[in-house]
């Protein structure tokens, strides 16, 4: 099955996205930004519909809109994880805009709404692979530079601030990293299921890992294993790939829950 070019593209694109999501999801969980990640995923729909209205590629629209939302949420600093209401209001506003853009463009665009919502990994083109590779390189470079203060500020924000770590700047930069990651992951699992790749790999890493490096390694490994297995199952059993990725990752998480329950006796 790997001889087909669409399968090769799905594999390469998927590995790039799974690797980035595996790293970013650990910090999403440590910084308790689950709702923000979920909101950015939904906002991608508006970004894609706005891009369609303007005749641009959907990933560009998603990047621009998610980037703007990320800067606003990042500037709210540490309040973000405590202020679900503010994220909810921004999300509702942006989703409302998305509904209006779809209304304006429904004849030409509504047909592809399903692929934006649920993704289509088998439709990843060569151009998209290069786009994903470029965006992943940017994210990895940023994470390499900010990892030490980001870990410190994520684990112990009050003391990090007292040590002159720029908590607010880090918050904005990490929100931008998250916005780019969401825009990338939408190409694979779609706007509705992007949450899966941004939460579950990190959650599984936290279930099994004792140090930050081990947690990140487990998270990246699990995300890639689920992706490759999902492509295999999807191809042989004719099931949607995003459904397979979601189910496999959820199963992985429940294995950790069962193990913890058995350990507790």
């Amino acid at each position: 099955m790997w001889a087909y070019s669409f399968m090769q593209n799905a594999l390469f694109g998927g590995i790039i996205v799974a690797t980035v999501c595996g790293i970013v999801s650990v910090f999403v969980i440590l910084r308790r930004m689950g709702f923000a990640a979920h909101a950015l995923g939904h906002m991608s729909l508006t970004g894609a519909s706005a891009a369609a209205l303007l005749g641009m590629s959907s990933i560009l629209g998603q990047l621009v809109l998610n980037g703007l939302a990320a800067i606003v949420m990042g500037l709210m600093g540490d309040k973000v994880k405590k202020n679900d209401l503010a994220i909810g209001v921004v999300l509702t506003f942006v989703l409302g805009l998305g509904a209006y853009f779809l209304f304006l463009f429904q004849n030409n665009y509504a047909g592809s709404v399903m692929s934006i919502l649920f993704g289509n990994i088998f439709a990843v083109s060569n151009t998209q692979i290069w786009q994903l590779l470029g965006l992943a390189s940017v994210i990895l470079l940023i994470m390499l530079v900010i990892s030490r203060p980001l870990i410190f500020a994520s684990i112990d924000p009050v003391v990090a601030e007292s040590k002159n770590v720029s908590v607010k700047l880090l918050s904005v930069v990490f929100f931008l990293v998250l916005a780019i990651t969401v825009s990338m992951a939408c190409q694979v699992v779609g706007a509705l299921l992007v949450f899966v790749l941004l939460i579950i790999p990190g959650a599984i890493g936290i279930q099994w890992g004792e140090s930050i490096y081990r947690i990140v390694a487990i998270s990246v490994g699990v995300a890639n294993a689920a992706l490759i297995l999902a492509l295999y199952v999807s191809y042989h059993f004719d099931l949607p790939a995003s459904f397979c990725i979601t189910m496999l990752l959820c199963c992985g998480y429940f294995i950790g829950v069962i193990k913890a329950l058995i350990k507790r006796g």
Partner: protein, 230 residues
């Protein structure tokens, strides 16, 4: 170590204290006493530059507030720790090592040896490698103490470290402070409502009262205030 000239503490909405002058020598261990809301925690946050000076001048280790925070360690009264379930106190300590520098964090042999030394100093050997969330309040406080020492500070600021601890845990924490006093050269400022339990280990006191902020060489001069608990 610290020089205050006509210093007023507070927020943009107004001063919490009248103007005061203070001079604290290097490596002194100072107790900070006063009622709730008198400005004790605000003083520590002003030293860190987290809250700006309302009026007057404040010099810490020869520099302005916020300029020498690498030389200061702070244990806040309330904090948010976001460690993963299985991460230990050692992870918290190592994550704080040079935490403001950019790049990848790396636990070298030298750092590992330093962490082991500090864990031993605060008496946390038996639980430092256990998951942090399983530790008691007193055990967590001793991990915080080791974390505060990892960057070899010249000044340690402790905001109510004895609060919420049972008598046994308080005793262990005070013993850890005593050992630090014997082995490390650094200044210390501690806010506590249980000052009577720690007073014998301190060099002097700063009293935040309705009449202003005063330097007291002994605890005797603040005994008239019932909240001091002596």
């Amino acid at each position: 170590m610290i020089i205050c000239k006509h210093l007023e503490l507070g927020y943009a909405s107004g001063s919490l204290t009248p103007a005061f002058n203070l001079e604290i020598d290097d490596n002194q261990w100072i107790g900070i006493i006063g009622k709730n809301g008198a400005g004790k925690s605000t003083f520590l946050k002003t030293i860190l530059g987290v809250i700006p000076v309302v009026k007057g001048e404040l010099t810490i280790l020869g520099q302005k507030p916020g300029e020498c925070n690498k030389l200061i360690s702070y244990i806040p009264q309330e904090r948010e720790i976001n460690l993963a379930d299985k991460m230990s106190g050692v992870s918290l300590i190592t994550s704080s090592y040079c935490g403001s520098k950019y790049g990848l964090p790396w636990v070298s042999k030298k750092l590992k040896a330093r962490v082991d030394e500090l864990i031993d100093l605060v008496g946390a050997n038996s639980y430092a490698h256990q998951p942090f969330i399983t530790l008691s309040g007193g055990q967590k406080k001793r991990i915080y103490l080791a974390q505060a020492l990892i960057n070899q500070p010249q000044l340690l600021l402790l905001d109510e470290p004895l609060a919420d601890l049972d008598p046994h845990a308080k005793q262990h924490f005070i013993e850890a402070l005593q050992k630090i006093h014997q082995h490390q050269r650094l200044g210390l400022m501690i806010i506590s409502h249980d000052m009577h339990e720690i007073a014998s280990h301190l060099d002097a006191f700063i009293h935040f009262s309705g009449n202003g902020v005063h330097y007291c060489p002994t605890i005797e001069c603040v005994k008239e205030d019932t909240y001091v608990g002596i």
